[in-house]
Symmetry: D2
Subunit: 396 residues, 4 copies
């Protein structure tokens, strides 16, 4: 009879060092580090055209992995059961053409043995979270796994399911919260972000969130995606489709490719606010080495375009913050006037410049940011003076 | 027999105009508009000192209302039942001294009739969400109400409870999601942010979130608070206490006042990312008119200090973004070099300056931001040149 | 600050003596003793005629209390809210005319103060299980209370709610399980009979079951009623209506009066199997003293009729068991034949007669049962002989 | 793409004829007919001795099948995982020695392919209810299956899982309700007997109940077993163990073998009350043909003993009912006296005798029952006279 392993020995458990795992999925794509894993794609692989349309649209746009089901766990035996191996071949082609890792669900040991040769990540669905024989089998493969939480699994059971895989030697486990069963039919499931937060205090494994299955309604996906990143998730898995309403499965929750890109864009400041990065740059770098099907010049021109798009987005944010900064400077000016303090405060300016430099990681660039900040402070002083003069003229 | 009112006539329902309600709580404090309602304070009012400590710490720091229970709905009849009217008097004093609205729970018609004279907002707790006689009574008062979702109430039942209040003529209803019952004991309740998102598509009423009761553990509050704002909530209600572990009730979920301030600070970029504002400025303005207990000079010095604190935070963000911007510029430089394009692209620079100006709302400031951007672009050009020279020297 | 009462002092708790409480409701009607409390009646009191029809049909037929709502806790403020005091007057009239205790729900302290003068039992509904101010108020009244379990109340919370009433001095609390919220919409709620069993091991208070609200579908009521009694419940509360489909509220779950009587009849052997008694006899006795509106002769004739009905039911059961007994005797005969044992076994017959006598509680009757058993054993012997002869004739 | 089968074609669905399925398990043992399927045995097969002890104790005592797990779905990978094939061999030996069908759980296609040669029934556990690949595989075998409801499966999902098996051609599906997840920790799960009642109105498949897993506490098993039969379940699966507290798994919910026999005995009147039969007789008959390991004479003596045990139990019930019958006769006598009606009512006696005969199915026996009833009525008359004389003497 096997001896019970004590809690101290659980492989999935967060240790006192608080060290988090980073699971490598493919060259340049990981989950659990600073850069988020953003997975997009349809519920089911339906055709080669469909998958090319999806990959072309998402590639290099802040999405760093593609999903698509070929073995479908449908509630009814008479519903579409997936394209099977034919669908796998399409995923293989997509992975090669766009240099994006592909993720697909397996429902049995046989599926796993076939899909392991094509997929970059195997997915275990909610219904199989405690299919222990499958977990043990996956534990013997050398392949990253996304393990979805069962419909009414406790967090302890969820981690124990991960432990089944890790006990076999496969440590590349990514957990995925996808909503739990509740009494309310207003949403398909209840996305348990509290569970995500609690899991991060229990395990070192990366945790991603699937807002699509959680809510079951496309108009709710964006808000829940933002919430997931805000509470510390390591990534997202979102169902999107070139023509959502024509999806052969889960049509109600799939979003369009355009909507997917909008969501990804909206995530940038949220990710930043919690110390994370969207995957754009990583992909860019990876792509630069890998793109083979386009002429180099075209590729570079396309990349220049895409970097400029990112710069534009950054500039919009910086401009907004600069305005806010200058407004606060004016408030400070007002207060100084009433307190009869001089407008210029050299000590304070020096402090700001020092602090600003500390927030840059590359010295060469820090120098330039310092220069820019001098112009910012100059602008502040000028505004304060203008304000003071205006006031005086009013008084007079 | 009363005739059934049809769905079209439901007062709580979102109409086709998508117009959202903004509930006015006190001078300068509302819920449902652009500025968030951030409520802090202890589970129970325990003493005058305790409440002064809380209000002093939170006032003008991004928290715009104070909560404190005086009638406590305790599971056991033998547990502390609250300070009652004595506690109400303390709340009244706090409201006046710090010019902050105060919120307290009422559990019966009698409580409501007493508290209505002191509290700025009455709260109906989860256990009384379907105490219909109480709801009808509150419906006849002219006082804002925070209505908490029942432990296992559906969203439809939640809105119907609000409708009971509105049917009586009181439209100042703020909904509060605070976690629902589930099978998992890892968290006290499951915070249903999907429910918040769904509610915003069902009703025009403001919706705030109470992450403290939802998770029941202080170490989870911050992450859930950020998630709530990210998914569109109109505010937060967070339990904080000068000495959390000594709280007479719900000690396990209360956070310290310092932790409260940190959370509020971390919310600033999240709020911004979803088009909302933290309440700092509003409070600042309100306070300037109201503070009476401090000498004017001290008040101004204190405010100068607090604005500078905010400027520092802004500068940290701006510096990080500037570095990122310059790094991207260097990437652009590299690409341009390989594509044999000139480093300077006047048309592009002009576009950037135009766009930047558009992101500022005040013309006077836009002009200054434009100037600053010129220095940013100059820094970019210099970096690109330095990079090019370095490469050449390496090649050579 | 109130000192926490320790667990040992909880008034609702089952003590080591395992003594169960019996709550007296009216002359001859109690809950928690050997005789079950069977409550029938409509969801809402709709008219005097309706209630007379109900009471006439149920009176003296195994139902010993009448329910009817006059203050209705409806989800929508625009739905029928009950007849109020007018309905109370009808209940009072019914109670007097038929000498049956009446039960009605109160939703506020005001309701309780009015209803206490008319109703024999006050009911606290699920939505008010933790309306602590109401519970405290009821605790000061001298009136039996049926406290319904909240939609998602734990058993501990349920008992604590009872404790709120008992802490005030009112010990006449009857708990009522009525189904809890779950994720499945196949039934309105999930009837938690495991909860009933667990409660009986936690508290001395009587526990009844409301299968109508639990399932929400009339075709399920009978099976759940039988299950409730089989698992040890002290009674039932069932919604029935003269014209169920015309009920102003909860029409889908109300059963007809005929169906109600059938259910009650089907409960007789179940109650017996678990050592309980249906309330027929108790009522009969009570009625004999109380009926004033019928001529004595008519009343007696009617009672004769009703006892004979019960005898018929008993005879049907006894006949079935006798046949079974005789069949087993024949099997014994066969075996004896093959084992070459004599058909008559005087020692065994004596044992059976002794045992049979022990199962009777009145000596006078035991004597008669002994006589009857002699004729049973004689019939057995004759059958065995006939069987033996038949076999032989076949062999020959 | 597979075409969706319409609802009319669902194989599991109850049709308009209301015809229920009876699944044959082994010679003389079925599920879904009048006779209940009562399964007993330990959670895990631990040794040959253990299983012999269990089978010896339960055989021919109202239990008609043995369960024992050899592949165990444990939450932790480090917990005892079952004896595997060694355990299967023990089950095979038990089945042959005691002529009792054996039931064991399979967790994968491989398990099923091995166990199908030994087990009489394969069990699919809750965690695998939606392991669709396993269901499809089982659908191709010719072997009865017990399919347990998933921890939070809806009834529709449950039936769809059965449909996966039936779609493959295997119609021998027995459903098993075993409790669903809820928020309350007072019981391990919530036994959903309302679900059992609802299922009987949705499907023709037999439905049994596992009260052990539902409550997780041995002291609750008996009450829930009785409730299950009372609400119409087709059988029970109960965990019992020679030394419950030493069980290697689920020790907390296992009952002793003695307790198991007591429960089975207590079910007899409940089963009868709802028109069902406990399996004793069936087993007896089956055993008579099958027992080979005992000398014929010993076997017959043992059977004589066991039939007599059953007769004793019957006599106890009959005696109790006879006393009740005679008591009612005395009440009738009293009423007759007051109504001045003669004690003997020949018409009524004739009616009773006719009715009694109708309740017997074999004419030969009906005749004897008629005779016995004559003596019952004579006893009644004598009692009435004695009562009358006693009264008179009192009056005098």
């Amino acid at each position: 009879m096997a001896q019970a392993q004590t809690n101290e020995q659980m492989k999935a458990q967060l240790t006192e060092t608080n060290q988090r795992s980073e699971v490598k999925i493919s060259e340049g794509v990981t989950c659990g580090g600073k850069t988020l894993l953003i997975v997009g794609g349809p519920c089911s692989v339906e055709s080669s055209e469909q998958m090319h349309t999806v990959a072309k649209a998402l590639n290099n746009k802040g999405i760093n992995a593609i999903r698509g089901g070929v073995y479908k766990p449908r509630t009814s035996p008479y519903a579409f059961q997936g394209m099977g191996e034919e669908g796998l071949a399409i995923l293989g082609e997509i992975s090669k053409t766009y240099n994006m890792p592909v993720i697909t669900e397996v429902m049995s040991e046989k599926h796993a043995d076939i899909a392991v040769h094509t997929a970059d990540v195997l997915q275990i669905g909610s219904r199989n979270m405690q299919n222990f024989e499958l977990l043990k089998h996956i534990g013997k493969l050398d392949k990253p796994v996304i393990l979805k939480r069962g419909l009414s699994a406790t967090l302890d059971e969820f981690l124990m399911a991960a432990e089944y895989i890790m006990a076999g030697g496969n440590n590349k486990v990514i957990l995925c919260e996808r909503g739990i069963r509740s009494y309310d039919t207003a949403t398909r499931n209840v996305l348990d972000l509290g569970g995500v937060v609690a899991l991060r205090q229990m395990t070192h494994l990366p945790i991603i969130v699937d807002p699509s299955h959680a809510c079951g309604k496309r108009e709710m996906v964006a808000d829940l995606a933002r919430a997931a990143i805000a509470c510390g998730a390591d990534g997202l898995m979102i169902e999107c489709h070139p023509e959502p309403e024509k999806s052969v499965s889960d049509a109600r929750q799939a979003i369009s490719l355009e909507h997917m890109l909008e969501i990804v864009e909206s995530l940038v400041p949220i990710a930043e606010a919690v110390g994370r990065k969207m995957p754009v740059a990583a992909n860019t770098a990876a792509k630069r080495d890998a793109v083979v099907s386009l002429s180099l010049r075209d590729a570079m021109a396309s990349e220049l375009h895409s970097i400029r798009h990112e710069v534009d987005r950054l500039d919009a944010t910086i401009a907004t913050l600069l305005e806010k900064r200058l407004l606060l400077a004016m408030e400070v000016g007002e207060l100084k006037a009433e307190l009869k303090l001089p407008i210029r405060d050299v000590k304070r300016e020096q402090d700001v410049l020092d602090m600003v430099v500390k927030h840059c990681s590359m010295p060469q660039i820090a120098k330039k940011v310092r220069e820019i900040y001098k112009s910012i402070m100059e602008a502040s002083r000028i505004l304060q003076k203008e304000e003071a003069q205006e006031k005086e003229s009013k008084v007079a």
